[in-house]
C-alpha cells in the first residue's frame, strides 16, 4: 500500500521535540494531511487569521479550543502592530539614532514574535500534540497561513 506523505521541512524539527507526546513507540509519525488557516483581511492589512473552524479538524479538536488559539494569536499580532505612544517613541528614537539602536536592541515586533513562538510551543505541547496535531508558527510561512499538520492515527490501524 502506498504511503501518502505530505512533506514539510519544519515538521521534522517539531517532530523531534514532540515525539514523546505523539507516538512514543514510533520514531516518526506519518503526516496525514495539512490544514491551512488563511489570513483575514477584513480589518485591513493587519495580521489576523480566520477563526472559521475547518471541517478536517472536527474529529480531532474542539471548536472552542481552536477559536481560542486563533483569537489569542490574532490578539498577539495586533499587539505587535499596535500604533501607540510606545511604538511611536521607539520609531522616533530609532530615527534619531539612524536605526543603529536596533543593533543592540530588539524591536517591539520581534519581542512579540518571540512571545508568539512560546505560545505556539505551549499550545502544541498541551493541546495539539496529544490530539495528533501540530501547529506551525505562521512566521515560518511568511505570516500567510497557520498550518496545522494532522498526523495519522496509528491506533486506528491505518498506515502503510
Amino acid at each position: 500500500m502506498f504511503l501518502y506523505v505530505r512533506k514539510h521541512p519544519d515538521v521534522l524539527a517539531h517532530l523531534n521535540k514532540h515525539l514523546n507526546f505523539l507516538r512514543p513507540h514510533l520514531k516518526q509519525p506519518t503526516v496525514s494531511s495539512k490544514v491551512f488557516i488563511q489570513r483575514d483581511y477584513s480589518s485591513g492589512t493587519i495580521c489576523k487569521f480566520q477563526t472559521k473552524f475547518p471541517s478536517e479538524l472536527e474529529s480531532r479538536l474542539d471548536k472552542r479550543q481552536f477559536e481560542e488559539t486563533i483569537q489569542t494569536l490574532n490578539n498577539l499580532y495586533a499587539e505587535a502592530e499596535k500604533l501607540g505612544g510606545k511604538s511611536y517613541l521607539e520609531g522616533f528614537l530609532a530615527c534619531l539614532t539612524a536605526y543603529t539602536i536596533f543593533l543592540c536592541m530588539e524591536t517591539h515586533y520581534e519581542k512579540v514574535l518571540q512571545k508568539i513562538a512560546r505560545y505556539i510551543k505551549d499550545q502544541n505541547e498541551k493541546v495539539y500534540a496529544p490530539r495528533g496535531l501540530l501547529l506551525t508558527d505562521p512566521i515560518e510561512r511568511g505570516l500567510r497561513v497557520v498550518e496545522i499538520t494532522i498526523f495519522e492515527d496509528r491506533s486506528i490501524g491505518s498506515g502503510r
Partner: protein
C-alpha cells in the same frame, strides 16, 4: 540558485546512500561541512551580499549613478565652497553639510540594502491547498473558470485580492508583484532604480527620509554655492566664480528631488502608495463612495504610522540555514513508497529546501526494509536498456545537466551523453558510497527519478529531453507507478513546474 540546489541534492544523495548501504535508518547521516543559507536558494531575482545581510535588485547600474552623483556633488562642495564659506561666513556650514550628507548616505544605503517586505512564496502544500479550494469554487459555476480573485470588504470598501501565479498566493491588500525582482512585496510602492531596490512596507520610511534629506541637502548646497558665487563675484567676476562650483548638477536635480519629496509627503499624509495613486484606486473620481480604507483619518496619524510605526521583521529569513537535519529519501525507483517523495520533490522546484526536506521526511517515514530495497540498482537496471547498457552513459547524463538544472527538470538528453560519459566514467563507479564521489552519486539518484516521473509530464523541457525521458519514464511508471494515487499532488507539481519554467 541552481548550484545551491545541486549541492544540497548531492548532500541528500550522500545521506541516502550511506543509509542504504551500511547503516540503519536511525543512524544520523553526516552533516554537510558547510550549511547552506536560505538566501542562496531564494527564488526571486535579487542579489545578495555579505552572506545574505544585503539584498538588492538585479539591475544596479542606476544605483551606482546615484551614489556617484551624490558623492561628486558633495565632494566638489566640500572641496571648493566650504573652505571659502567657513572662513567668510561661519564654520557651521560645512558641519551641517556634513551631517546632512551622512544622513543622506545612511538612508540611501538602508533603503537599498534592506528587504522591502518580500512575501515568501507559498510552500507546495499551501499551493496545492489553494488550488483545491479554487477548483472547488470553480466547479460549482460549471463554465470556464474566472480569473483568480477574491473579494474582501475592508472598512466598507470592496477590495479585490488577486492570485499571484508566480508566488502561488493570494496577494494581501496593497501588495503587488514586482516584475523586475520577481517577488510579491507588501505595501508595494514602486521599484526605484535609483536606489536599486523595491520600495515597500519595510523600507518606505527610509526611502522617504532619503529623498527628504536629499532635497534639503540639494537646496543647502545650491543656496551656499550661489552665496559663494555672489561673494566671489564681488571680487573676481561672475564667470570665474561660476566655474568653481557644482551648481549645474544641483540646479537640475533640486526640482526633481523636491518635487518627488512633495509627492511622497502627500502620499504619506493620505496613506496611499504610488501604485494606488497612479491607478487612482481611491480617487473620488471613480465613484462618490470611493475612499481610502487604509487611511487613519487624519494627516498626523497617517504620517506617524508611516514613519514611526512598528517596523515589521523580514519574512524571508535570508540568513537562516536550510534545514538538513533529517535523513534523505531516494527520489527514484520504488514508486510505491517513494511516489510521494518524488512527486513532492518535483513540486518543490521553486523551493529547493522544501524539496530536500520532503525527501528526507519520506525517507524517515519509510520503514528500514523498504529503504534498503530502494537503491541504485533499479536505476541502473532500467537505464541500461535505454542506453544500451552503459551505466556511465546514463549516469553521466544525470551528472552533467541535472545538478545544475534540477529544479527545472531539464537535464541534457541522453543523446548528448557520450561526451560526458567519456569524461567521467570513473565517477560512475563509486555509486555505492565512496566518499569522494558522493556528489556524483547524488546526481545519479536524484535526476534519474526526475527523469522517470518528471519528464513525461514536464511541458517546458527542452525538446531533446522529452523523447529521452518519456520512453524510460513510461517504462518506469508502468513498473512502479501508481498513477491513481496522488494525482492532485502530481498535477500541482506539474503546474508548478510549468509555471516555474515559464517564469
Amino acid at each position: 540558485m541552481h548550484l545551491g540546489v545541486s549541492e544540497s541534492m548531492r548532500d541528500c544523495e550522500y545521506s541516502q546512500i550511506s543509509t542504504r548501504s551500511s547503516t540503519p535508518m536511525e543512524t544520523p547521516y553526516k552533516k554537510k561541512t558547510s550549511k547552506k543559507r536560505k538566501w542562496e536558494s531564494f527564488p526571486g531575482r535579487n542579489k545578495f551580499y555579505c552572506d545574505g545581510r544585503i539584498m538588492m535588485a538585479k539591475q544596479m547600474g542606476v544605483f551606482y549613478l546615484t551614489l556617484v552623483l551624490i558623492l561628486v556633488t558633495c565632494g566638489l562642495f566640500f572641496t571648493f565652497d566650504c573652505p571659502f564659506l567657513a572662513l567668510q561666513l561661519t564654520p557651521v556650514i560645512p558641519v551641517i553639510g556634513g551631517v546632512l550628507f551622512m544622513f543622506v548616505l545612511g538612508t540611501l544605503l538602508r533603503t537599498s540594502f534592506s528587504d522591502p517586505g518580500v512575501l515568501p512564496r507559498a510552500t507546495p502544500d499551501e499551493a496545492a491547498d489553494l488550488e483545491r479550494q479554487i477548483d472547488v469554487a470553480n466547479s460549482s459555476t460549471g463554465y470556464r473558470p474566472p480569473p483568480r480573485t477574491k473579494e474582501v470588504v475592508i472598512n466598507g470598501q470592496t477590495v479585490k485580492l488577486k492570485y499571484c501565479f508566480t508566488c502561488k498566493i493570494f496577494r494581501p491588500p496593497r501588495a503587488s508583484h514586482c516584475s523586475l525582482c520577481d517577488n510579491c512585496v507588501e505595501r508595494f510602492d514602486h521599484h526605484c532604480p535609483w536606489v536599486g531596490n523595491c520600495v515597500g512596507r519595510r523600507n518606505y520610511r527610509f526611502f522617504y527620509m532619503f529623498i527628504l534629506s536629499l532635497s534639503f541637502l540639494t537646496i543647502f548646497i545650491l543656496a551656499f554655492v550661489i552665496t559663494h558665487i555672489i561673494l566671489r563675484s564681488h571680487r573676481s567676476g561672475f564667470l570665474n566664480a561660476l566655474k568653481d562650483s557644482p551648481v549645474v548638477v544641483c540646479f537640475f536635480s533640486v526640482w526633481s528631488i523636491v518635487g518627488l519629496s512633495g509627492f511622497h509627503t502627500y502620499l504619506i499624509s493620505s496613506n496611499q502608495t504610488t501604485n494606488e495613486d497612479i491607478k487612482g484606486s481611491w480617487s473620488s473620481k471613480r465613484g462618490k463612495d470611493n475612499y481610502n480604507p487604509y487611511s487613519h483619518g487624519n494627516i498626523f496619524t497617517n504620517c506617524c504610522a508611516a514613519l514611526c510605526g512598528p517596523l515589521p521583521p523580514s519574512l524571508i529569513d535570508r540568513r537562516g540555514f536550510i534545514q538538513s537535519d533529517t535523513p534523505q529519501l531516494a527520489p527514484s525507483t520504488n514508486g510505491i513508497t517513494m511516489y510521494g517523495a518524488t512527486q513532492s520533490q518535483q513540486s518543490h522546484m521553486c523551493d529547493q529546501d522544501q524539496c530536500i526536506q520532503s525527501t528526507k521526511f519520506v525517507l524517515q517515514a519509510a520503514a528500514t526494509p523498504l529503504l534498503q530495497q530502494q537503491s541504485s540498482e533499479p536505476v541502473i537496471l532500467t537505464t541500461s536498456p535505454e542506453n544500451g547498457g552503459t551505466l556511465p552513459g546514463r549516469t553521466s547524463l544525470n551528472l552533467g545537466g541535472p545538478c545544475t538544472s534540477l529544479p527545472l527538470g531539464q537535464p541534457t538528453p541522453p543523446t548528448s551523453t557520450p561526451s560526458l560519459s567519456c569524461q567521467e566514467p570513473s565517477d560512475m563507479l563509486p555509486i555505492h558510497g565512496h566518499s569522494h564521489t558522493h556528489n556524483h552519486s547524488h546526481a545519479l539518484q536524484e535526476p534519474v527519478a526526475h527523469h522517470h516521473f518528471l519528464t513525461p509530464e514536464e511541458v517546458p523541457s527542452p525538446p531533446g529531453m522529452l523523447p529521452c525521458g518519456s520512453p524510460m519514464g513510461h517504462t518506469m511508471q508502468a513498473g512502479f507507478y501508481n498513477p491513481a494515487s496522488q494525482d492532485s499532488l502530481h498535477e500541482d507539481s506539474v503546474r508548478g513546474l510549468v509555471k516555474l519554467s515559464s517564469v
